[in-house]
Subunit: 319 residues, 2 copies
């Protein structure tokens, strides 16, 4: 099923079920108020949401779906507008220098302010080196400490897309301190829809999502690498890494990191990668970072060309 | 006022007001269900909680306080059992090699699972180098991006004590990667009470809390450094550092990091510091890390010897 969080002026928004074709939606208020509340009691809540989803997809009017409305991603918050955990694995070894074949690099991120798919990216200075970053993220149920990848696999509840914004010029100083990224990782944006893995059919296999992730910058398609092909660690491995010495609570979000493929003809999912390639080829980077007014669109289409998660489409604005 | 979260089997517990002398408590359910809900709407909720607090301290029975009960820290969860953000500044420059006089070192921590004051610390291996860490933490209201330290100062709502557990033997590998601490920082414990700054009188000044922080390990007092004296950066500076490129949402927790004073006769707030002193003096550390069955108690007494926040008292157990 496909779920969204609709803006209502509150901090957590309202949970809604969205039809498979993204055309219509229905508030889930008769079942559960918010996405976090659904995740807190997933075994009990999810079947009820699935039932509403089935009726919404069936299209015929019924008592349960009489308040269906046209789905509008501009009304969406992030599926979890604030979360109790957001960690990002640098699962794409091609992309992340710090990752090793044995163990993923994983960064604890800020989760108190997660942006909706059409929320502006508001920052103070272009000079910070503002970069987008197209990735996939999983929302998990409770995962016990010491869980194996197999155990972790069964705790993945929802998948979504992420725009992991980085401030590249602030990163070297933070990297040198060795304490992770704080100022160089501002608020992350998410797709309008969070989708259960069963919606993805064969594209979801081995704990990876095998579909191209399209990044369109100011109207130009700049990347469409496959989100599964580039992953050296799958989501179950990332979750197990997180849970080595602590549990993860329901609603924790685990990101793949920026997608990257060895096949460079597929373009790039973040500007830093393109600049790195340019530096290797030409001695210096030629693609500039984002400028105020720029738009970044991130979307994933299925084999039939249908949008799976809806699109992230954010404009960069000056604070 | 003094607030606590009482265990009720739910993930967020129930908000309670606790008398100044820690003897009695009263559920705040007629005002607000949880600590996060209070922080979400602090300007509206806090005065109502203050009123209940005043009546509870007055001691005489009234319609509002007729359900008062004996306060028992064993019934407490962390004031915020799960939070949307937990960052730790290494504000004690003596302690943290990575901090500079210009800028604090700050680490994003896991906030999805915060331990109550008497919850066991459960871990798998003594060989991980299990260390306690006594510190002070502030809970903030919404803080806008780019806030100055002065602006941040006015957004501090509550203070509490923290036991920042570290797995010292897992830290070098994570430090080498430069991506922060993930596996080496398991769940953090918190004092039973979260206290408004006005409760602290002159001890809270200049954005620092000037009182000794007592650490008692297996019944032996091992440290009582002053939590204010050691801070090279005050809480407003730490919060402003966090908010350089992003806002902080209500309920974000900002920790001071492990307290440390230049005066070594005051002992230590984490084992690593003692081991470091031993290494300098004797060429090698002699104090071992924690063993399963060990107890760590962390408490702060006011000038009259009264416990301000109640005590953290946790037993280390094998998973």
């Amino acid at each position: 099923m496909k779920l969204a969080t609709i803006k209502d002026g509150s901090r957590d928004g309202q949970l809604a079920v969205v039809s498979r074709d993204l055309k219509s939606a229905h508030m889930a208020d008769a079942i559960c108020p918010t996405m976090q509340a659904a995740l807190d009691d997933w075994a009990f809540i999810a079947p009820q949401l699935e039932s509403l989803y089935a009726q919404l997809n069936a299209g015929h009017s019924s008592a349960s779906t009489r308040r269906a409305f046209d789905f509008d991603p501009a009304r969406c918050m992030a599926p979890l507008p604030r979360a109790f955990q957001w960690v990002v694995g640098a699962a794409n070894v091609d992309h992340a220098a710090g990752s090793s074949p044995e163990e993923p690099l994983m960064v604890q991120g800020g989760s108190d302010d997660l942006l909706g798919p059409m929320d502006d990216i508001v920052l103070a200075h272009e000079e910070w080196g503002i970069d987008f970053g197209a990735g996939v993220a999983a929302i998990v149920d409770d995962v016990p400490m010491g869980a194996t990848p197999d155990e972790a696999h069964g705790r993945i509840r929802l998948l979504m897309l992420a725009n992991e914004v980085s401030l590249r010029k602030l990163m070297p100083a933070e990297l040198a301190k060795g304490a992770g990224f704080l100022q160089s990782k501002p608020a992350t944006g998410f797709s309008p829809l969070a989708v259960t893995p069963d919606e993805l059919g064969e594209a979801w296999r081995g704990g990876k999502l095998y579909l191209p992730l399209r990044a369109t910058w100011n109207g130009h398609l700049v990347g469409q690498p496959d989100a599964g092909v580039g992953m050296a660690f799958n989501f179950p491995q990332l979750i197990a890494h997180l849970c080595k010495s602590r549990k993860a609570s329901a609603g924790s979000i685990v990101g793949s990191g920026t997608v990257s493929n060895r096949d460079t003809t597929l373009g790039y999912s973040c500007i830093a990668e393109q600049r790195s390639r340019e530096t290797i080829a030409d001695g210096e980077p030629s693609t500039p970072f984002m400028r105020f007014g720029d738009t970044i669109r991130i979307e994933m289409l299925d084999e039939k060309g249908k949008s799976v998660f809806g699109a992230i489409e954010q404009v960069l604005k000056k604070m």
